[in-house]
């Protein structure tokens, strides 16, 4: 019967719409249990690979060090984890703690899913943490998370190749940096970009490598900050970008690739290329440090070069936030407080994945991986992206994204600042207007 089928369709629609209309966030109270059973808290993270291992190890350590709290740790890639977190939140089954980056705090706080009171109740002190990490955890002057770590860019360099090219110390200014990169770029016949007859199609080793995705924007961000220019703020309602002020940064990166020819065009994975000896230097983060145990050549890291008037480098920080729960569960809140306090003070082990712990006690007792010193040296001048409520759209790493388009037009298409900066401005303003 046609009507039978139409009725089935209608019946199907009713619960769907009703379900949507009735949806409201909030958490159901989880089992309270007797005083002897441990409280169970759920912890969502976004790490994969080696980082996942280290965080899991820390959670296991906590779980076995006491019997009052058991932490169930689940980690997926960031985008997937946030989807799951929000879906769980909608279903009333929110996790108890969620890791995220500082620039994402604004977005989630604005959605109303984060609990600032619970974080305030932890009674953390600014003095216990690295200032740059602490300052990143507030939004609208309210605290939203426990700082976990800080990470940023620096330059990995191949000491063997440096020695072979006769470079004795790591270059610290623009001129020597470019010159070093050129000496390190060798084509199949042994020529450098400065030599006559250099064959750009047949290069064996490049002097420098870096990511051609949103991280290229991060470098541009660092470079404009080096010139004292940073128009991005957490509360911006519209933005105005000056092409003239951004032109040196854009030009520097583009010249490296297209004029000086020391960077492979469209490079996909600089750290892999570095480990394989295909590039002599690579701009990448401290999260890569734990993957160097198999590398057979001598290498080290150096702070991101100072190309402009002052020092600046892009960085980000990871924090642990507490989602809102509808039902107040005192026992759970205490468990969360216990775990987060422990984690902050005992995250020295987190340094084994190359991260820099944000808590001073952990920072002081951390096991330093080879190469971490350059990153530590940069702590004073790390620049974060602002925690704008629409940060995940503006600074998105997935197309269509203003910074991604900008970055790729810059490093893949060699477009001039006069073209790409206005476009970046327009793209960002289009998002800010909504």
């Amino acid at each position: 019967m046609k009507r039978r089928n139409l009725l089935a369709l209608g019946l199907g629609l009713v619960p769907a719409v009703a379900g949507l209309a009735a949806c409201s966030g909030g958490g159901a109270a989880s089992g309270t249990g007797s005083d002897t059973t441990p409280s169970k808290i759920v912890y969502y993270g976004g790490w994969t690979g080696a980082d996942l291992d280290k965080m899991q190890a820390m959670v296991t350590k906590y779980n076995s060090s006491q019997t009052k709290v058991q932490v169930e740790f689940s980690s997926l890639q960031w985008t997937n984890m946030f989807t799951k977190f929000l879906a769980d939140y909608q279903a009333g089954n929110s996790p108890d703690v969620v890791a995220m980056h500082t620039f994402e705090i604004g977005q989630f706080a604005d959605m109303g899913v984060l609990d600032t009171d619970a974080v305030a109740a932890l009674n953390l002190k600014r003095d216990d943490f690295l200032p740059i990490a602490w300052d990143g955890t507030t939004y609208n002057s309210k605290p939203y998370g426990v700082p976990l770590d800080v990470n940023m860019h620096a330059v990995y360099y191949n000491k063997d190749l440096f020695a072979a090219a006769g470079i004795s110390s790591f270059p610290t200014d623009k001129a020597s940096f470019v010159a070093a990169a050129q000496k390190l770029t060798v084509d199949a016949k042994g020529k450098h970009p400065t030599d006559v007859g250099f064959d750009a199609q047949n290069v064996n080793t490049y002097g420098l490598g870096f990511l051609m995705n949103h991280h290229a924007f991060y470098q541009a961000y660092a470079l404009i900050n080096q010139d004292g220019y940073n128009p991005f703020t957490a509360d911006m309602k519209s933005i105005s970008l000056d092409p003239a002020k951004m032109s040196p940064a854009v030009g520097f990166l583009e010249d490296l690739i297209f004029t000086q020819k020391v960077v492979p065009v469209g490079e996909k994975s600089p750290i892999d290329d570095f480990k394989a000896g295909k590039v002599a230097m690579a701009v990448d983060g401290n999260w890569q440090l734990s993957g160097f145990s198999d590398v057979k050549f001598k290498w080290d890291t150096a702070p991101y070069p100072q190309i402009g008037a002052q020092k600046a480098v892009w960085g980000a920080a990871e924090v642990i936030t507490i989602p809102k729960q509808t039902k107040k569960d005192e026992k759970k809140a205490a468990a969360v407080k216990d775990f987060l306090t422990w984690l902050a003070q005992n995250s020295a082990d987190w340094a084994k994945s190359g991260q820099i712990p944000a808590n001073k006690a952990s920072y002081n007792s951390m096991t330093k991986l080879p190469g971490i010193d350059a990153y530590i040296a940069e702590l004073d001048y790390v620049k974060f992206l602002p925690a704008h409520p629409q940060a995940t759209k503006i600074f998105s790493s997935a197309a269509p994204s203003p910074i991604l388009t900008f970055a790729q037009d810059m490093v893949l298409n060699d477009k001039p600042a006069s073209t790409i900066v206005p476009k970046l401005q327009d793209d960002i303003n289009a998002i800010l207007k909504k």
Binding site: Q77, W78, A91, W287
Partner: protein, 278 residues
């Protein structure tokens, strides 16, 4: 079939070229998985590894609950495929061979859902599954996979083309509909059924989005989710461990290939007598 020798040779060559196109990237992957991590990305590319090692495979099998994940994947894929074979075959048959009011509308409504991929309905499904207590369970992974529309589409097309004469003859002989289905039509559908089996098995085996979001605990994960998680992601900036990821992936392929090879002969089990209606 009589064909000139040269034509046969050319055709053979074409097939070989096609097979090379398919297999060379895979061979490259397998060879790479047998290299130590540091060598995998070496340049110039080395088809003959400087050093062969099983260390990646060893890491995967010893450091991770690989067999648990594989078992999960197997249970979900096998149960899901069986469920689809039973439910979809009967449903497709009914819509293709039985006459009832609204069968066209029903079929079209179902088929339209083919055009709505998992990304579009994963959130409502997740919320519903939560209310039904299906999250973090194997049945929560199996049941949604049985709601497969591709199988309906394929089976419906095949069932529609089966000849009416056999059916009519059996009906005259007094056979009931189920008997006709079971003893006459199904045996003629070997190729269609085996095709659906292998395609749905692969789809269930490789499913990523739903198993990723529906399962929280490590031991409940299926292989594709576990692989993406434990060996990083190239879209994230963490170090991606190629060796172990490739080894895990190569091993993950084996059960499917076994199923495929086993079903192969049914692909060519022809219909003995009458042919397809034109």
């Amino acid at each position: 079939m009589k064909q000139p020798r040269w034509l046969k040779a050319v055709l053979y060559l074409v097939v070989i070229m096609a097979c090379l196109f398919f297999i060379l990237p895979v061979v490259w992957t397998v060879i790479s998985s047998l290299k130590p991590e540091a060598d995998i990305q070496s340049y110039p590319p080395a088809w003959i590894p400087r050093e062969l090692t099983l260390s990646n495979y060893r890491t995967v099998l010893t450091k991770f609950p690989y067999f648990t994940w594989m078992a999960n994947s197997l249970i979900v894929a096998v149960a899901g495929t069986l469920g689809i074979l039973i439910a979809s075959t009967m449903a497709a048959y009914a819509m293709a061979r039985f006459r009832f009011r609204g069968r066209r509308l029903l079929y079209q409504t179902i088929i339209v859902m083919l055009l709505v991929p998992m990304q579009a309905y994963v959130i409502p499904l997740y919320l519903m599954a939560g209310k039904m207590d299906l999250l973090n369970t194997l049945q929560g992974l199996i049941l949604p996979s049985v709601a497969n529309v591709t199988s309906i589409f394929i089976l419906h097309a095949f069932f529609r083309e089966l000849p009416m004469e056999l059916e009519e003859a059996a009906r005259i002989d007094g056979a009931g509909e189920f008997r006709i289905f079971w003893q006459i039509m199904l045996p003629l559908s070997g190729p269609a059924l085996s095709t659906v089996t292998i395609l749905t098995f692969i789809a269930n085996w490789n499913a990523f989005l739903w198993p990723m979001i529906a399962v929280r605990q490590d031991i409940m994960k299926t292989l594709p989710v576990a692989i993406s998680q434990y060996w990083g992601s190239v879209n994230q900036n963490a170090s991606f461990q190629y060796g172990t990821a490739l080894a895990a992936c190569c091993m993950a392929v084996l059960p499917t290939l076994v199923v495929y090879f086993a079903l192969q002969r049914y692909f060519v089990a022809g219909i003995a007598s009458s042919g397809i209606k034109g």
